[in-house]
C-alpha cells in the first residue's frame, strides 16, 4: 500500500472515529453548556476527518471520496488508534481520553504545519488553532475533576488507569511512520512522545492524579486489529450506505 496514503488515512481515521464517539454526547451531556461545547469539538474532528480523508483519497488515486473511505471500508481496513474507538464511558473517561489525545494532537499538528506535503501542512495550520483550544479546555477539565470532589477524583483516576495502556500506540513506529519522517511528511514519533509526556505528566500532577505504574501496552489499530467496540461503531456509522448502496444522500 502507498505509504504516504496510509499515513494520511490513519490520521483521517483517528479524527473520524473520535468525532463519531464525541458526537454521542450530543443531547446527553452533564449540562447544556457542555452539550454545546462538546459538539463544537466533535465538529472540529469531523471537519478534519473530511479534509484528511479527501486528501488520502487523492494520494491513493483510485477515485475514492471521503465518504467511500468513511462508509465503505470494513473494520480491518480502519487504522485509527484504539483509544479513539473506546466507548464514551462516563464524563470523566470522555474528558480524560480527550485530554490525552488533544495533547498529542497539539504537538502533532504543530509539527505537521511544516510538512513537506503542502496539503497536509495546510490542514495542520487549520487544525492547530482548533486543537490549541481543545487542549486548553480538556486540560482545565482534567484539573478541575481530578482535584474536585472525592468522587470526581476517583472517577478520573479510574479513567486514567483504564485508558493509559492505549497511549503507547500513539508513539509506536512502523514502516509507515518511518517513511513519513524520512520524507519529512510527518514528525519523528519519539520527539513527539517526549513533548507529550512532559505536558501530560505535568497536567496530571496538577490534577493530583497518579500516573499508573502498571503498563499494559495495547496496540493493533495500525494493523487494523481493533477492540470489539469498533464493530458496533462501524455498524452504526455505515448503516445507511451499506443497506442502500450506491445512492445519493
Amino acid at each position: 500500500m502507498n505509504k504516504h496514503f496510509q499515513y494520511v488515512l490513519r490520521m483521517g481515521d483517528n479524527a473520524l472515529i473520535l468525532g463519531q464517539r464525541m458526537s454521542e454526547w450530543c443531547g446527553h451531556s452533564p449540562f447544556l453548556e457542555e452539550d454545546i461545547a462538546m459538539a463544537n469539538c466533535a465538529l472540529d474532528h469531523v471537519g478534519r476527518a473530511r479534509m484528511l480523508l479527501t486528501h488520502a483519497g487523492t494520494l491513493e488515486d483510485k477515485g475514492r471520496t471521503e465518504d467511500d473511505l468513511a462508509f465503505l471500508r470494513d473494520e480491518r481496513e480502519f487504522f485509527n488508534f484504539l483509544i479513539c474507538e473506546l466507548p464514551i464511558g462516563d464524563y470523566a473517561f470522555t474528558l480524560m481520553r480527550q485530554y490525552l489525545l488533544d495533547a498529542y494532537h497539539f504537538h502533532l499538528y504543530s509539527r505537521l504545519q511544516k510538512s513537506s506535503d503542502s496539503v497536509l501542512a495546510a490542514i495542520a495550520a487549520k487544525a492547530i488553532k482548533e486543537t490549541t483550544y481543545h487542549v486548553r479546555r480538556s486540560g482545565d477539565w482534567v484539573v478541575k475533576l481530578g482535584d474536585g470532589s472525592d468522587e470526581s477524583h476517583r472517577r478520573m483516576q479510574d479513567a486514567l488507569e483504564e485508558v493509559w495502556g492505549y497511549t503507547g500506540e500513539l508513539f509506536a513506529v512502523d514502516e509507515v511512520d518511518d517513511y513519513a519522517s524520512r520524507k519529512e511528511i510527518g514528525p519523528d514519533p519519539e520527539a513527539l512522545r517526549l513533548d507529550w509526556e512532559r505536558d501530560v505528566f505535568d497536567k496530571l500532577r496538577t490534577a493530583t492524579l497518579s500516573i499508573p505504574d502498571e503498563v499494559w501496552p495495547i496496540s493493533g489499530g495500525r494493523k487494523g486489529v481493533h477492540t470489539e467496540a469498533m464493530g458496533g461503531l462501524l455498524a452504526e456509522m455505515q448503516f445507511l450506505q451499506r443497506s442502500h448502496p450506491g445512492l445519493n444522500w
Binding site: F31, E33, I36, N40
Partner: protein, 92 residues
C-alpha cells in the same frame, strides 16, 4: 439539580464597536465561563472579544428608582444643541 453560578456575557462583534450584552450562561469560574461563552455565543463568527461577569456582581438601577434617576434629566433641554438659537448658515 444543583447549579453553577450565572454569568452575563458581553461580546464585541467587531473592532471599533463596544462590547454588547448578548446573554448569560452557567459556569464554575471565569475561565470556564469564557470558554462556554466562546462555544455558545460565537459559533457563527459573532465576536472578536468576550467579557464575562458573574451576574451577582452586577449592580443595577432599580425600577422604583426610575423616577428619581432618569426623569430629572427631562427638563434639562439646554444640554441639547437644538436649544440654542444661532444662525443656521454658520453651520455651528
Amino acid at each position: 439539580m444543583n447549579l453553577l453560578p450565572l454569568w452575563e456575557v458581553f461580546v464585541r462583534t467587531r473592532r471599533g464597536l463596544d462590547h454588547k450584552h448578548i446573554g448569560s450562561l452557567h459556569a464554575a469560574d471565569g475561565a470556564q465561563a469564557l470558554q462556554a461563552a466562546r462555544d455558545t455565543y460565537t459559533r457563527r463568527q459573532e465576536g472578536v472579544s468576550i467579557w464575562v461577569v458573574e451576574a451577582s456582581k452586577i449592580h443595577a438601577s432599580q425600577f422604583e428608582d426610575n423616577a428619581s434617576f432618569f426623569e430629572p434629566a427631562e427638563d434639562k433641554v439646554y444640554r441639547h444643541p437644538t436649544f440654542y438659537d444661532v444662525p443656521d448658515e454658520l453651520n455651528l
